[in-house]
Amino acid sequence: MLGRLRDYILAERPYGVKLLMASSAIAIAIMLQTKGGASSTVAYDMERVANLNVWCGVFVGYALLLFYGVLWENATARMIGSIFGTIMWLGLFTFHTIVSGVGPLRGVYLVFGIFSIWNILAVYEYIRIQRKYGIDLTKMANDMMLQFMRKYRK
């Protein structure tokens, strides 16, 4: 059971979570600029620390790093993005909770933070196996998936 759980945790699957977090970061950056609805409270809190344009730059930079890592299959970019994302999301969760108290929308930051930690572990495993055995796990998985698809999807 634990072995299977470890398999699941440490297999870097392309790439839904990373793309979702990157897209959400861009959406949040847009919403901060508009200060519409719920994001107005968030924007007000964040402005206490830095100008909103700085925050938007941070979100967009993070998103671009992850998009680059995913679409150009660069493990280093994915690792840096995941580490940066973990710090950013968990930092935002902690900050908003301290400033405005516990709330479900803070939980979104916590969820992103937890999945970022998961990404760090998975990308680390990917890099470790690549350096140790010269295997590109993602390429191997993709090639096998394509072979399977060509064989069975008629």
Binding site: G3, R6, D7, L10, A11, R13, P14, Y15, G16, V17, L19, L20, S23, S24, I26, A27, I28, I30, M31, Q33, T34, K35, G36, G37, A38, S39, G103, P104, L105, G107, V108, V111, F115, W118, I129, K132, Y133, I135, L137, M140, A141, N142, M144, M145, L146, F148, M149, Y152, R153
Partner: protein
């Protein structure tokens, strides 16, 4: 280009992204429920309530969240299909209603960005879930899981060949770790 796009579209395994979307949707529903009496003057709420009461959308989002969390946790493919389908409908409906009913102000319309992101990822998940469901019905196996198992077999085989070629303490340590990893 289209082949690459198709590869990207069908590469995603219905699991972690769906789990994340389910948790986030449940949190959104919870937040909306807690603030339902405060947000009575919000143009977003007003737009949603032209179609159905706010509580209807909250319940739909909460159901989607719960269904998808349970289905991915138990790897129940029909549940994942149902959950992702419901998510696509809910986020698509919310995005569509807001884009067509909100006053034409960029400030308000751009605020819909996050709902559109969730709609896009829900639809992607739904397409993959349908594909997995179709192949599971046809071959009795989840093709993502089959590929994973093939990959692990390849890794074990490679590890054995490497260990035979250069048996050192380092590799034995690596073998032991890899053994534990694939068991």
């Amino acid at each position: 280009m289209l082949i690459k796009l198709r590869q990207i579209l069908y590469r995603q395994q219905p699991k972690s992204t769906d789990l994340m979307m389910g948790i986030i949707s449940f949190l959104f529903a919870w937040a909306a429920y807690l603030t339902r009496n405060i947000q009575t003057e919000s143009p977003v709420v007003a737009a949603m309530e032209r179609i159905a009461p706010l509580i209807f959308w909250i319940i739909l989002l909460a159901i989607y969240g719960v269904v998808i969390i349970l289905a991915t946790a138990f790897n129940y493919v029909p549940g994942i299909v149902l959950g992702t389908g419901l998510g696509t409908f809910v986020w698509g409906a919310i995005s569509g209603i807001l884009l067509t009913n909100l006053p034409f102000q960029p400030r308000l319309l751009l605020g819909v960005a996050i709902y559109i992101v969730f709609f896009v990822f829900s639809s992607w998940s739904f397409m993959n879930a349908l594909e997995v469901y179709r192949l599971t019905k046809k071959f009795g196996k989840n093709y993502h899981r089959v590929v994973e198992e093939d990959m692990i077999k390849e890794l074990i085989d490679l590890r054995n060949r490497v260990a035979q070629a250069t048996a050192t303490n380092d590799l034995r340590e690596a073998e032991r770790k890899l053994d534990h990893h694939v068991r």
